[in-house]
């Protein structure tokens, strides 16, 4: 009944994904926002520092030099040294690993549990929705950091447990966001059309609804990474995160507080690092939210 002769190969993408991204509407809209671009650049810079730490760090971050204790910044030690004579620049560079790892992993955990639960709550509704939503409300009633610290204290002090605790604490944010978005997308005509062509329910949820809420999840993830980095630093400050002598910005601040008046650089650099990283993630998140906001199109 149907006869055609295709003139060119079909179905193959015209360009590779990287090129596609730089041509996409998201990129065009994001690149118009200077603050978001700055955020993106700093985030990428911090990430490359974390990845390349062994190559970039001028000294071993745990090597103690008792002849150079609490030295002010100099040509030999650009950021100075700490109370055990360790090079602060090297510790900052290695500390970026702990911070970013904690941010990314804990948000990964939060999304891996929260998004499926939110999808189930929003899509299935009824008793399942009631159970998941009440559980979410209960968790959100506790302050974020307090709950994370309580969980970490319960699990025992280590970076893995800190990430787990932050991830579980951030999970209800994703449950609630996913549920709300699913409820609004579920009412769209194309979801009804998808069931009118014989799709099973799980496929409608995963293939038809989930991709349409990814932008919102992406924004929430970026902003939550910032919160998770602060939470990790706070927990390391309290001794619940990465254990000494391994370098972490939070624990560096902790040891610096005893020498604030005579070695302020010990507190300055880790504080500045946390500030800049968190600010960059927030700028990027805000920029993404504006770029993805349908009202601003």
């Amino acid at each position: 009944m149907l006869t055609t002769s295709p003139t060119k190969p079909i179905g193959a993408p015209a360009t590779n994904p990287v090129t596609n991204f730089f041509r996409s509407r998201l990129w065009r809209r994001l690149s118009r926002r200077k603050s978001a671009l700055v955020g993106l650049v700093v985030v990428l810079f911090m990430m490359s520092i974390a990845v390349l730490a062994p190559l970039l760090a001028p000294y071993d971050p745990t090597a103690q030099t008792w002849t150079a204790v609490r030295k002010a910044p100099s040509m030999a030690h650009w950021f100075g040294t700490d109370e055990a004579g360790r090079d602060i620049l090297s510790r900052i560079i290695w500390g970026a690993r702990a911070s970013l790892l904690a941010g990314l992993t804990s948000v990964g955990i939060a999304m891996a549990i929260g998004v499926p639960l939110g999808l189930a709550a929003g899509f299935l509704g009824g008793v399942i929705d009631g159970l998941i939503s009440r559980f979410t409300d209960a968790m959100l009633a506790c302050p974020f950091l307090i709950l994370a610290i309580a969980l970490a204290a319960f699990l025992g002090p280590s970076l893995t447990n800190a990430m787990l605790a932050i991830g579980i604490t951030a999970m209800p944010l994703f449950i609630r966001l996913t549920r709300g978005q699913v409820l609004s997308i579920k009412a769209e005509d194309y979801v009804e059309a998808a069931s009118a062509v014989g799709n099973p329910r799980w496929r409608i949820a995963v293939w038809h609804i989930l991709p349409n809420i990814l932008p919102q999840l992406m924004v929430q993830a970026t902003l939550t990474i910032a919160a998770a980095i602060i939470a990790e630093a706070s927990m390391s400050f309290l001794g619940l995160g990465l254990q000494p002598p391994a370098p972490s910005w939070g624990s560096m601040l902790n040891s610096a507080q005893r020498f604030l008046s005579n070695a302020p650089w010990m507190a300055l650099w880790p504080g500045l690092s946390i500030f800049i990283t968190v600010l960059s993630f927030n700028l990027l998140g805000d920029g993404l939210r504006d770029a993805l906001d349908p009202r601003s199109r």
Partner: protein, 347 residues
């Protein structure tokens, strides 16, 4: 534009009605009732609707908003939410009783042997996927063929619904397409698996008039080629005149008149149909003013006793306090009115 013979050319051939020929019957709905219930009220949205659709023919379901026409079509497809809608009666499709069919049985029919087109082409396609991915999904769900063959089939379908440069359109996203183009894509998706039955719920309502005519003509041509039976849900009598064979007119959840298209326009037998026709602008008669039907549709949760059109009817008499049955006025022409035939009556 079309080289195909116009299907309305020969009224005498059309008047040989296929209603009683079971071999061409694709869908038979009998005494369909849909009741929506919640804590506070019970609404009978569809009340004892019966009709059948035949291969190669188009049945129009006409009625104003809230008359139950869309609910009827969703009930046939079993797309109503099961926890709130109670459906009774019978829906026979290909010898199967759809109301007893399992969920997976229904899924294998939907999109495959019975397809649906929705009113809003702008929102009926998923914005996250290309046109091709969405057509492919339907084909691969119901046909055991390779992705490459499905792609070829998809492009053939786009060609069939006369989308220019189908290969390019195939890899575009819905936001790259106009409304008329998207409705063509919806039709291509609906027809991709050669369904026996196509339910089109106000397929042209959201389109502008010139595109409407093109889409209707496209559907007519495709029906000639494939023999698909079509149920066309509409409130637009112009669309009915242009593209349908048989008509049922619905009012407040009931069928009030059932006949061929010719009879509907030449000998309307229900006062509601007469009112609908009277409210149409026409070129061949001078009308100073369009006649609106007075009053409003009754509240479905609180229906009056007797004939549901009684309060708005210029012909109503005391007997109308009793609910009339659908009565045969002439062969194949049914009307739910005590006062039919209406010819000699004056309101």
């Amino acid at each position: 534009m079309s080289t195909l013979p116009h299907i309305h050319q020969d009224p005498s051939a059309r008047s040989v009605r296929a209603d009683n020929d079971p071999s061409t019957r694709v869908l038979e709905v009998a005494n369909l009732r849909v009741v929506f219930e919640d804590e506070t009220r019970t609404v009978t949205a569809v009340d004892g609707v019966s009709f059948s659709v035949h291969k190669g023919r188009t049945l129009a379901i006409v009625g104003e908003s809230g008359s139950g026409k869309s609910v009827t079509s969703l009930a046939v497809m079993r797309l109503l939410p099961e926890h709130s809608a109670r459906i009774s009666g019978s829906v026979h499709f290909d010898g199967r009783q759809l109301l007893d069919e399992t969920k997976s049985g229904m899924r294998s029919l939907r999109g495959n042997r019975m397809a649906m087109i929705f009113q809003e082409p702008m929102t009926s396609l998923n914005p996250s996927y290309t046109v091709g991915e969405q057509i492919n999904e339907v084909i691969l769900r119901h046909r055991d063929i390779s992705k490459k063959e499905a792609t070829q089939r998809g492009i053939d379908m786009l060609k069939l619904v006369r989308i220019p440069s189908p290969e390019a359109r195939y890899s575009q996203f819905p936001h790259n397409l106009s409304g008329g183009m998207r409705q063509r894509v919806m039709i291509a998706m609906a027809l991709a698996c050669d369904p026996e039955l196509l339910i089109a719920d106000e397929p042209t309502t959201a389109l502008d008039v010139t595109i409407q005519a093109q889409v209707l003509e496209l559907m007519r041509d495709l029906q000639q080629k494939t023999g698909t039976a079509i149920v066309l849900i509409t409130h637009d009598l112009g669309v009915v005149a242009e593209s349908c064979d048989d008509v049922i007119v619905m009012y407040a959840g009931q069928v009030v008149e059932q006949c061929s298209v010719e009879d509907l326009f030449s000998f309307p037998q229900h006062p509601y149909t007469v009112g609908l026709l009277g409210s149409l602008p026409r070129l061949d008669e001078k009308r100073d003013q369009l006649v609106a039907i007075t009053g409003t549709v009754p509240d479905m949760a609180n229906l009056p006793s007797g004939c549901r059109f009684r309060a708005r009817c210029p012909f109503s008499v005391a007997k109308c306090a009793e609910m009339p049955e659908l009565m045969e006025v002439s062969a194949g022409h049914l009307s739910r009115c005590w006062r039919t035939p209406l010819q000699d009556l004056v309101p």
